[in-house]
């Protein structure tokens, strides 16, 4: 057990600097995503900026605060591959939502 703990410690106690760096980056990124709203960007620009900052933040939290960057690939892959199901669900539901709103507008309001 000692060995394991030592190993664990080796992978879990990192220099305090890295945590402070990530922390700072998270604040900056949050501030940027707030600015997206402040400047009232619209359309594609707004959405892509929101997504970029979101994924950067999420990635930093997962990789460094949750130590995923230092975990072995077996665990990382087990955790990330199921997300494909979510991605598929999102894509299909987006298509479904578009279809729903299309039929609603067509048959309830616009006609023709």
């Amino acid at each position: 057990m000692d060995e394991i703990q030592k190993k664990e410690q080796a992978s879990s106690t990192h220099k305090i600097g890295i945590y402070l760096w990530i922390w700072g980056l998270l604040f900056v990124l949050s501030f940027f995503s707030y600015l997206v709203d402040w400047f009232q960007f619209q359309g594609l620009l707004r959405h892509s900026l929101i997504l970029i900052f979101m994924f950067l933040k999420a990635g930093l939290i997962m990789a460094f605060f949750m130590h995923l960057y230092w975990e072995r690939y077996a665990l990382v892959n087990i955790l990330l591959w199921p997300m494909t199901a979510i991605v598929g669900f999102i894509v299909l539901m987006a298509a479904e939502a578009k279809y729903t709103v299309f039929t609603r507008l067509l048959y309830f309001f616009i006609g023709g």
Binding site: E8, I22, F27, S30, Y34, K57, A58, M62, L75, M93
Partner: protein, 234 residues
């Protein structure tokens, strides 16, 4: 139980195939509790994803205008409306608490009891502040007439999804806060140093518990990142 079987393991994808092909454990050197938290968080990710996907479907397919979140969630500072101010502060608080939690985990592994305990306590207070601000936000909106079943700003679903998603997230934060306080007490009492047995489970305490709690707390923060992006900003 000393052995060197966990040293010199191959890294990267090679390491992955080695780990998966080996006996005893698939995740080398990862404690049971930590795997449990990870798999639980994976399951929880699916819960939040389903909530957010439903929200996407609901928001896209309603023909009534969606309220402008930037206005709905604005605060008046000196008579001037500042968009999303409260939400920005909440995000700030949650990220702060996430940072203190990360440091607590680090000091926990270094067996720095005092530092670890105080940082957990700071995290708990951050979480409590977050919940407090959420309560403020809810009461403000309720005061303005937003209800789960209707609201004066636009689509009915706005209130429903707002209360449901932030409520579910808030519940997660609250549960986390409770556990943070419990663990802060345990750390100060020295349970993790002397391996005191748990009250319910009768299992020995270990500093890895702090990391497990940390995983949960960071996950709560992670979810907030997505809620912030999709619900407030989009």
């Amino acid at each position: 139980m000393s052995n060197n079987s966990l040293n010199n393991l191959p890294e990267g994808f090679k390491g992955m195939s080695h780990d998966m092909g080996s006996d005893q454990t698939a995740f080398k050197g990862v404690q049971w509790g930590k795997v449990m938290m990870w798999i639980f968080l994976l399951s929880d990710t699916f819960i939040f994803s389903c909530f957010l996907i439903s929200y996407m479907k609901g928001r896209t397919s309603t023909v009534v205008d969606w309220p402008n979140t930037s206005e709905v969630f604005s605060l008046h500072v000196g008579g001037v409306p500042v968009p999303l101010l409260l939400i920005a502060i909440m995000t700030f608080v949650l990220i702060t608490s996430s940072g203190t939690m990360a440091l607590a985990v680090k000091y926990g592994y270094e067996k720095n009891r005092k530092m670890c305990g105080w940082l957990i306590l700071a995290t708990a207070i951050g979480g409590l502040t977050f919940v407090g601000m959420q309560i403020f936000e809810w009461s403000k909106l309720i005061h303005e007439g937003v209800r789960p079943w209707e609201n004066p700003f636009g689509a009915k679903q706005f209130g429903s999804f707002f209360f449901m998603i932030t409520g579910f997230h808030g519940t997660h934060v609250s549960i986390g806060v409770i556990f943070l306080f419990i663990y802060a007490r345990k750390v100060f009492r020295g349970d993790f140093d002397n391996g005191k047995r748990g009250f319910f489970t009768t299992m020995k305490s270990d500093y890895v518990a702090i990391e497990i709690l940390g995983l949960y707390w960071h996950f709560v923060d992670l979810v907030w990142v997505f809620i912030f992006a999709f619900f407030y900003l989009w």
